[in-house]
Structure formats: C-alpha cells, structure tokens
Assembly symmetry: D2
Homo-oligomer: 405 residues x 4
C-alpha cells in the first residue's frame, strides 16, 4: 500500500478525527500530506486548523485554507434553489450540496501540488464518502482515493483516542467522551445524526439545536422580510443588495431568531439503509418559500410543472453525489433556462417556526388582476371554456362510450 | 335551446347563485329540474336548501340531499393523500378533490331519475367548470351540460340581484352587497378568492379566516398528537379508532386550534391564467406531514422516489379535473401498490401554525438502529462501499478520460 | 366580422383550398390579403402559386415566397432529432415540426406588412389548426386568427367546387373528384390521411406512396451509407460535407430507393380522437437510427437515460403544437446540453425497408475495447462488483427481512 | 471460507464453465452442491446436463431440471411487453428478463433443500451477476452468494481448461479454442458479445446468426400474420389459440424465416461501461410491433402517454436487475391497470427483416371512422376547437405580452 502513493491532499477540518487521519496517512504512506481546510460557513475558526497542521509537521506551503463561502452559495446553493429542491419531500440537502465543492477544490489543489491521491474523513456507512469520491473521480479520473474509515482498524472511539494519545495529537476536552450526535455544518445548514437520535420515536432534546431558537422562545410578534430576486437568485434582503453569501447569512439570522428551519426526518441513504437526521436550515427554508413565491407570479405554468416533474430526480442526483454528472448538468440547463424572467420581490412573514409568503410583486409578473376578472372582449372569452372542456373531454367520452356507459 | 332538454339535475347549494340558476333553468328549459345538495363537510345546514328548493316548486321527490362526508374522505381525500399530493409544491387540492365526487353523485342521480342534462354553478373563468364537466362526460358521455354562467346575461351582481328580486328568490342580507371574496368549503378545506385578494402583494385580513385561529393567537404550549396509519390511510387519532371523516374532523379541530394549514399563493389555473387563492386546510396539513412521516420508516426508497416522481403529474391531473381519466386511475394503481406496508404511528407537534413530525414507529419499520450502526459482519460491510462507489463512478471516470481530464 | 380586420397574411399553398380561402377572405373581410408561400421541401413548384395569387388580385408586393428549407432542417428538424423524438413510440413528427416554422414566418411577415390577422387552411378537426395558432399567439399575442374551415359554410366538396367556379378560381383536373386521401409534405416526410385509409384494418394501396419504392421492389443488395455527426447534428454523408437541408435530401434519396421509412399507424390527436395516418419519412428514419448510433458510443449513460425519460413528453409537446412554449425551450436546453461530445460517424445498412446501424466510431468515444476486457489493475476491478451489488441489494434485503422472508 | 457454507444451489447449464464451477465449489466448500438446470427455451437438450452432474458426483435427488418456458413467457416476458419495453430505445431485454426467473427458482430450490448458498456462472464485469444476485437477495435476504468468477484464479481460458483436465471434466471439442463470442439464449432471444464483436465499427459475420436467416435470404414475398390480444397479452396467432410459450415459439419461427429481429448496438451496462451486443429477437420484435398496434386503437391517449413516459425507467429497472424491487412492482401495477381493454387483432406484414403493422381491429376500439369525419352535430363540434386553442394559448399569450411581444 505504502509504495504507491506520492502525495496526498487531505480534506482537513482540524478536528480530532481528521487530525488522526493526517497522522495515520503520514505514517502509513510515508509521503507528503497536504491539508486543505475550507470555510464554507461552518462557523468555526480556521486558524487553529493551520496551527494544528503545522504542529503535525505539515509545512506552511502545504497548508491550504480557503474561504469558499461566496463560491458555495453562488455556484452550488443558488443553482440548487432555482429548482426548489427537496429530497424526499422535505430535506433541503444542506450537507449534500457542500460536498462537491470540497471535492472540486481538493482536486484543484491536487493538480496544483502534483498530488496523486486525496483523502477524506467520511465514514463507510454514510453518503458523504460517495459524494466526495464521485466528485474526485469525475474531475480527475486517475486520482487515488484514500478513505481511512473504510480501511484502518481504529473503528472504535477508544482506539481512536488511544491512537491520538500515542501520537501526541491534542484532544479537546469535550471530545474525550462519546458525542451524543455527530454534526455537519455550513452556511446552508447544520445536521445532527447518530446516538441520541437513533430512536425515531424520540424527539430530540431542545439543547441540541444551535442555529435557531425554539419556536416557543421566538418573538411573539412576526418579523416581515422582503427578498428580491433576479433571474431566480436572491440579490437583496429588505431592500439591501447583498452578495450570495451575505443573503444567506442574513436570512439565517432572521430565520434563526424566529425558530425557522428545523426538520426531523428519517431519510433513505444512497448506500441503502434508512437513517434519522435532524437539520436546521433557517435561511434556506425562507429562501425556498421565497423562490416558490416569486416563481408563482413570473413563471409560466408549463415551465413550472416541468420543473416540478424533474425536481425529485435532480434532488436525488445531488443527494447521491452526482453533482458533476452529465445528467445533473443537463437538468441544470433546463432549470436555468426557465429563470430569465424570475425577477421581483417576495414578502414573507416569519413567526415561531414558519416562513409564509404573504406578498409578491414583479416587473415581469404574469399575474394581472384584470386577467382574472377581465371583461368579455379581452384576452379571455368565457365561451371559449366550453370548447376547451369539450375537446379535453372527448377522449374520456369516447372511452366511456366504448365501455357502453 | 329549450326544446332539447327533458330533465336537469342541478348541483344546488341553496345559496343565492344556484337558486337563481334553478329558477333560470326552470324558465329557460321549461322542464323539470332536480336539485342535488351534498354534505361534504362544508359546515352548512342542508335543510334550508331543501326548503328553498320546495319553495321554488321542486317536488319533494326531486330533491336529493346526501351526506357524502365518509365517501368523500374515504374514496377521494385518502387516495390523494397516499400520494403526498401537492399542486405546485404547496397546494393541498382541497377544492379540486371535491368536484369529482359531486359530479359522480350528480350523474348517479341523473341516471336514477332519467335526466338528460346536468347543470352547475361554476363560472366560466375557473377550474371548477372543467372539473365538473370532465367528470360528467367521463361517467355519462351523452349527458348534456348546462353551465349558466357561460351562457346567460346575468353576469353582473346587480343583474343577478335584480333577477332574484323579480323572481321572488329570497336574498340573505349579507349577500346584498358584493362579497369581498368567494369561498368554497368542504371537510378538507376552505378557499378564498377574488376581490379583496386580487393584489398578490397585499396580505389578507385576519378576519377572513374561519377554520383556524391566527398562529399569533394559538396556544403558547404545543399540542402533541399521534396519528395511526393502516395501508397508508389514517385510522386512529391519539389511540382512538375513527372513520375516515372522523379522522379528518378531529385533525381539523386540532389543526384549527393551533393555527395550522393556512396557505396564501398564486396558482396556475388549467384555463390558462394565474389566480391568487388563500386556503385553510388544518387537518390536511397535519395529515400530509404524518403520512410522509409514516412512509419515511416503512416505504422502500425505490418506491418512495418513484412516488415522488409521479406526484406532480398526479396532482396536475386532479387539479385539472381528470380524476376519472385512465391515467389518474393507472397512477393510483401505482400509488396504492406501494401502501401495503405503510402501517404505524406518527407523533406530531402542533404549535402556532406548524405541524412537525417528532416521532414515528411501525411494526413494519425498515429503519432499525442496528442497521445504521451495525457490526462489520452483519448485513453491511463498510468495504462494500468502495466497490459501490467505484462502479458508480466508472462512467464519470470514462467520461472525464474521454475529455482528457 | 368584416369591420375589424385591416390586413391578413394567409398561409397560401396555391392549391384549390387555399385559393378558395384567399378569395373568401377578400370577400368576407374586404381588406388586403397578403399571401405567403414557403418552400419547405414539399416538392412542388412555387411559381404557380405566385401566378395564381396575382390572378386573384394580390399585388406583387403582397406575395411572399420563401425558401425555408435550410432553416427548416437546421432550426426545427435537427433540434428535434437530437432528442431521438418519436410520438407514441413510432411517429417521426414530420407534419408537426413544420407548422411552427410556417407560423413563425407568417407572423414575421405580419409584422413587416402591418397585418393584424393571419389565416390558415387547416380544418377544424385536426392538429394543424392548433399548431399554427399556438405558434401565432406565442409570437404575437394580439394577432387575430382566421380559420375559415371552422367558420364558413363551404364544408362539403361540392360547395367548395361551386364557390371556386363562381369565383373563377381555376381547378386542376385531378382535384375535381374527391381525393382518396389528403397529404402533407415537406423535406422530412409526406403524410396520407383520410377516406381510403379510414378503415385501420385495411392496408394502404401500394400506388399511394410517392417517396419510396416498395420494399419488395428495392434493390436486392444492401446500400451502405456513412453519416457523420457534429454536436449531435448530421454534417456529412459518405464523407461529403453537406448543409442541413442537403443532408436530409441525400438521406431521403437513399432511403427512398431502399423502401425505407414507411409507417402506418393510428395516432391520438391533441383534439381528442384517434386517427389513422400513413407516413413516408425515408431520410428521417435513417437519421434517427444514425443519431441513436452515434450517441451509443459518445453519450454518457446518465445523460442518455435522462433524454430517454423526457423524450415522450418532448414529442407530445411538438405534436400538440407547443414548439414555442417555455417548457419545450427548457427541454431543448437540456437536450442540447448533452450533445457537445456527440461527434463521429455511423455506418448503416439500408435494405428493403430497413436502416440498420452496423458500425460507429468517434474521436470522443466512451466505448473502448480495453474497458470491456481490461486487466484486473486497470479502471475496473471485478471485486468491486461485489460491493456494488451488496449495497444496491441492501434496501431489497431489509425490505425482505421486514416481511419475514 | 470453506467452513461457513453448508449447501449450495448452483445455476448449472451443463457447459464447460459451470461444470468447472461445480467441481470448484465441491472442492472449495467441501459441501453438497445441488444443480439446477432450467429450460427457458435456450434450445439445448437438458438431459446431458443431468448426466454430467451425475458424473461429477451430484446425487440424482440433488439434480433439478425444470421446464420453465411457460412461466418465463407468462410471468416475465408478457408483463414486460405490456409496457412496450425497450432499453435505450432499441434493446428488447432478452437476457435481462430471464435472470430474475432463474434467481427465483434457484431460491425456491434453496428453500426446499435447505441450502444456505447459491452460485452462478456470471462474470464480474457484466450485468448478469447483478441481476442474479439482486434477485437472490430480494427473495431470501440471508442467502450467501458465491460468484466464482469474481473470486477464483481461473480467469484465463488456459487455466480453466487446465483445471477441467486435471479434474476429469469433459471438454466439448469446439470449446477447446477460444470462442469468437459468448452467447446467451432463451425463448425470447439469443445474444452475442465479446471478442469478434469488440470493434463497434465492424459489422458481425453473417454466419454468427442462428435464429434468423439474413434479410437478403428471406422469402421474396411477404408473410402476413395475425396476432390476437387479450388484456394486452398475445393469445392466438393466425386464429389459433396458443399458450404464452407457444405464441412466442410461433412468432420466433415466422420472424426467423423472414430475417426479423436482428439488432446490433452499443449499450450501457449497469456496472458502468459500454459494451457491444448483437441480438436476435425474431418473435419479440413482431410482438412489440403488434402490441403497439393493438394499443393504438384500444388505449386511451392519457394512459398511453403515461406508459410511454414511465417505460424507459421500467426498462432500466429490468436491465439493471431490479425485477423484484418495490418500484418495478409498482410500475407493473400501473401498466397492468391500463391493459383491460387492450383486446383485438393486429395484422402484420413480415418481409426481409421488417415487421410492419398493416391492420388492427378490436371489439373495444376507440377509433371509429365516424369520429374522424363525423357530422357537425355529433360528439365533435368544429367550433369547439377555437375555444380549445384559445385557452391552450392563453398562458403563451400572457407570457408573450409580459415580454412586450
């Protein structure tokens, strides 16, 4: 094993697990390991990761720390929201959508530094390993992939801690015990999985949540917010033009204050089993409602229904890790093609866990009050309805007649 | 016109509009008009409709008044909810799903009484005319259909009132002025459309709502409810076995008390324009969340994703009035085929406008804690993930290689 | 009626029916009628149409005669073939795809000449009226549409001939009797419908066909042809670079000589009834096979299956006349997005009615002999298959276990 | 490895490869191996397989030889043909559809004899391993699966022959050399793959084909055949009632004589690479055309288009081996739901490679000559077309107006 690999780029968080992986890679492959740490809005300092990597012998020139927040929202989150994407009817894909970006940047670095391998810290039973690795292979088909969790023998918490101690890897105090759940965070969401959540009949503890107040504790009066869209993407909040990451940050703030975006579900993993996850997606929940709202007055019915029809498949592709697949790109072309006229402003009421659209306006509105009630001689003649119904009914009538009805 | 028709069955609410229609039909066609009034849970007394029909000369034997609430929920609402049906991502189809039942019963009566025509009070710009008439034609292809709103000259409020007065049709006091919105109600929902709602930027008045308290006024502590499912249909609430209509009634009560099920949207009508509608669907909103919840642990991924893929089309069929079409029946066969194992109980938290699933359990559960964390030698071997990913990646790699990546 | 219309652009073939329409429009509306005659490869001289229009009083400046063959193939036929489009599994949409082009050019002329109305000669029971008019309305929403066949009283052959005689409209000898079938022709196909074909149990007469020899009379030795593609469009035949219309012309010639492209079917019209049509599409039949052939080695599986999934809907949109709809454009964006790498050459055997792909090669080929049989250490490791199967099977196993299997 | 397995059921053809596997299993696992040989119409004697198994020490009571031809056609081929199933637009799935039946019977035998393992002779790069194993796991989730080709070291022809010789396994003379292609046969089709076919630019040799004469050598006059359907399944040929297997046998005979059903393609394997296959499916090719033909006059448009929309996915499921998955069963329920009225007779012309529908009739026909040409006062009023078009156009017009057209 050790002879083959020349240089490895590791997706490195600075936490205990990936620190152990860093050391394990160094020891096992006896080659240079480059660390890559990204800010995708997970809300953690990155400089400690740099320090830790340095401590473990990674030269400064081999430590990559990138702020990818704008790219994340602009090129991943927003395209996905153009499709009103929900996995299994409810999940906003907060984890799934971040993985391809990590994979992409990791491969870019591998090319820059001439690495022949990449490594990640995802486990062998989850979706993330698939998402990372499909990304790697799609972008650099000859890359070698190292997934330590599938290979090593450090599969229990005790062994991992032992290994850390033996190799002088610092262990944060709160990591010594077994965590009640594992989390993944970025600008779009935070997820909770595992131990304490494993019984799907049991409601999660209130103190688990970190991005939103409990609806019960949210303000007793509603907050109203206006989100402006251009070509299907949010470009301003309450009249203030914002960058993509700023939009999401602002909506997270408003959503979090109002207890919005919590989701508790059992989902189907790509690797074949069901798992229970709890999510907080405050800004994304508002954004989804707002985007549906602006489409409701600007998007043609045929285009909207087509989008609705392909959405579940698009969501499945993202969930399963096929962001860089030809079919995801093709569906994206379809989605994007529909968003030209999706411009305007949506007004939402945020209140104790709910984001409700209460107003929408647009310079490109297809809704006009006079169409709904217009006079007989305008674009709509009520008598046309008879012919419309008659011809739509024709095959039903012929079918009924053939059955002797 | 008058010579052709022998006997007409009118969908009769007892209200001003259909009373005017009743008289207009009697005068125009000079034939017997049979009235049919259904209780589908709209929450109005039906006996006044009988009295009014009698007053207008309809013989007792030609007055049909039916309680269709159980049939409505059992054969229309529940089959639709098995599909987690939402039109345009949000609308629970409360009006759409009631029309085929009215049409079906009306045709049954037409056959019983030997009528050759049916009539309804839906206007010429809406969806309901389509839903009624597609139902009529599908069930009795030689039926004659009379839609007075498309034909007569009573198209203004004033003319209608004048006609009513001229013909001694009693006008309720509150009907003299122009109503700020028109409504349609049944056990699943109540809808509001028209006048006061026509500007989609303006939030509806709080005093419009009738089936739910404002979230702001809902209790400050959450209500928990348990819904039990059998083969995909709700059969008990909080441990009490209930009939279909009783289930929905109970959930309406709980939902309404907690401000659940309000929806404000702009939708695409089948007849081609956009319109703004506001809906209250308290029980249905709970039921949808609960059904998704029970499916999340009992339904296979492949079946679930297939259902999700066909759902928007199924919703469109119902919205457009094609309940009795061969393709709706075929999709229903697909949906129903998946529900055998959809048994178990869902626990929901109802709080100030939101119904959130917080627990689910089932004797048929496909989720098991031990699968998610199971030991290496059980059904899941982490090393299998490598082969799984490698073969899923293969076409992406070959594609990348062909592009010289 | 006559007062409203100022100027009409008529889709004018020069034949009896549209000549009668021309005169009828002039008489009925007492306004200028501009004639528009297009060469879309129907195989008829256009100058007689000019003469006839002149004879009927249309000034030279109001006679439009356009050769649209290249535009037809480049912008309509080729985009459609990128999707491997078949309506109801078999029909190549030869008539459907020409109508939007006629409509588009007619509206362009209407704008040029300041006409407020357009007219066409399609009947009231067919699909073509829909295709024309949806095109008109989509491109110029305030256009007035005149469809004489739905309005006038010349609905029998005798009345039409009488009218022609009364108005000195020349009648070709072979038009005096009732034609055994009506036809529509363009560079992609010729269709036959009506009278002699109405019994779907009866095979059409051999002497009806005009674009292909009978398979029985085709050469006894096969013809081989090579078609070269670039980005999904055919650009050369047998090594000779050709324009779009030239490609189709050449393939029509080869197909016709080998009895290829005949189709006899009963199809479902958009207006609600079934009708029997017989078609000759010699070049198109070859082109479809060739395009599938080149895609088979250059298109990723995911993209191909996605295309296959949306194709029936795309075909339906074209058949129903929604070429200019937002949803057709969105699907086109999806289709076109997949064609970048669809380059290479396909070899076909043409023999007595059949076009069979027998070879394909491409600089972008995703097929490589060494992948199918490659060595153990290359991109494919047979042992990966086990993990692949195991994880694909996991949900099936869990499902079976839950059922006690 | 050897300690775990108690008894194995092997899918045994009697050929060299599975004979080597039989011996290898006996040696490796030192447990009883039960052989199962099925007649699914592959056209080979089964008694030699019995003899060979006996020779290799399998007791008579452990040799299963079953004639599954009727079950194959009735429960697998016919349900698939109800959907007009084609993989990637052209392939009739002859191999894919047989695998689940083998898997099902193998598991039945495993249950009967108390075996804990099954084995098959499919290689590690193909689709068949997936199809077998998904079937096994779906029907008996705790089964152990042995796929020798993925595990042993007999991966070259030489080694296999050496092993055979060392273990006294008789080798047919024609098996000593390397075969130019591998084949798989059953009552639906025969496939050819491998060596001589690996260059997709090269046409296969005429002498490879075994089930059909070359179109060039087929009779110079067409053969006409009539196929009768009941509920979507073929029940008679030329007026003679036949069992499912008899129908297919008869159509194979007629198709083979007329050079029908050859297909040469490059397809996308589920395991990720493209491969070239050549197929002969004479009867199936006729049956597909015939089934489309009978549906064309008996199936409602909505149902037909729905079927067309789901067909590619259904085909993919079968190709990928998901016959026993919940989603295949759900789609089957949809398909079967549409076939009630699919009754009647189709007439086809068979000529030098082509099967063309030339007539169809049905007691349930939805096509009636009088509908196409009916009088104004019948079910179709030409004036209805105007309203129909106007309302279909409405959203296009509003869209165009919003863009200022």
């Amino acid at each position: 094993m050790s002879g083959d690999i020349k240089k490895i780029v590791l997706a490195y968080s600075g936490g205990l697990d990936t620190s152990v992986i860093l050391r394990w890679l160094q020891e096992t492959y006896r080659c240079e390991v480059v660390t890559f740490t990204a800010d995708i809005g997970q809300g953690e300092e990155l400089e400690p990761a740099r320090k830790k990597a340095e401590m473990m012998g990674v030269p400064a020139s081999s430590i990559y720390i990138d702020d990818l927040r704008e790219e994340f929202v602009r090129d991943f989150v927003f395209p996905m929201f153009r499709a009103n994407t929900l996995y299994e009817g409810t999940y906003l894909l907060g984890t799934s959508i971040a993985r391809p970006l990590i994979a992409k940047r990791q491969i870019e670095i591998a090319k820059e530094v001439g690495a022949d391998a990449v490594a990640h810290g995802a486990t062998g039973k989850g979706n993330d390993q698939v998402r990372f690795e499909l990304g790697y292979y799609a972008l650099k088909p000859d890359i070698k992939v190292i997934a330590p969790w599938r290979h090593w023998d450090l599969n229990s918490r005790t062994r991992l801690l032992d290994y850390a101690e033996q190799h002088q890897i610092p262990i944060a105090k709160d990591k010594r015990g077994e965590a009640p759940y594992s989390t993944d965070a970025n600008l779009l969401h935070i997820s909770y999985e595992g131990k304490a959540l494993e019984d799907p009949w049991v409601e999660p503890d209130e103190d688990m949540f970190t991005r939103s107040v409990a609806p019960e504790k949210a303000p007793d009066t509603p907050t109203y917010v206006e989100v402006e869209f251009r070509h299907g993407d949010a470009v301003a909040v309450d009249g203030v033009a914002l960058s993509p990451a700023q939009v999401l940050t602002k909506l997270n703030e408003l959503g979090g204050q109002n207890g919005i975006g919590r989701l508790d579900l059992v989902e189907n993993r790509f690797v074949g089993m069901k798992s229970r996850g709890v999510y907080e997606t405050p800004g994304g929940t508002i954004l989804l409602a707002a985007h549906r709202g602006i489409e409701s007055i600007t998007l043609d019915r045929g285009a909207m229904h087509l989008k609705d029809d392909v959405m579940p498949r698009y969501a499945e592709l993202i969930y399963n890790g096929f962001w860089f697949s030809p079919e995801r790109l093709a569906i994206q072309a379809l989605i994007d093609n529909t968003q030209e006229q999706v411009n305007g402003t949506v007004r939402l009421k945020l209140f104790k866990g709910q984001a409700s659209v209460v107003g929408r306006k647009s310079p490109n509105s297809l809704y006009r009050m006079d169409y709904v009630t217009f006079e007989a001689d305008s674009v709509y003649n009520q008598k046309d309805a008879e012919g419309f119904i008659k011809l739509n009914a024709l095959r039903l009538r012929l079918g009924a007649m053939a059955k002797g009805l």
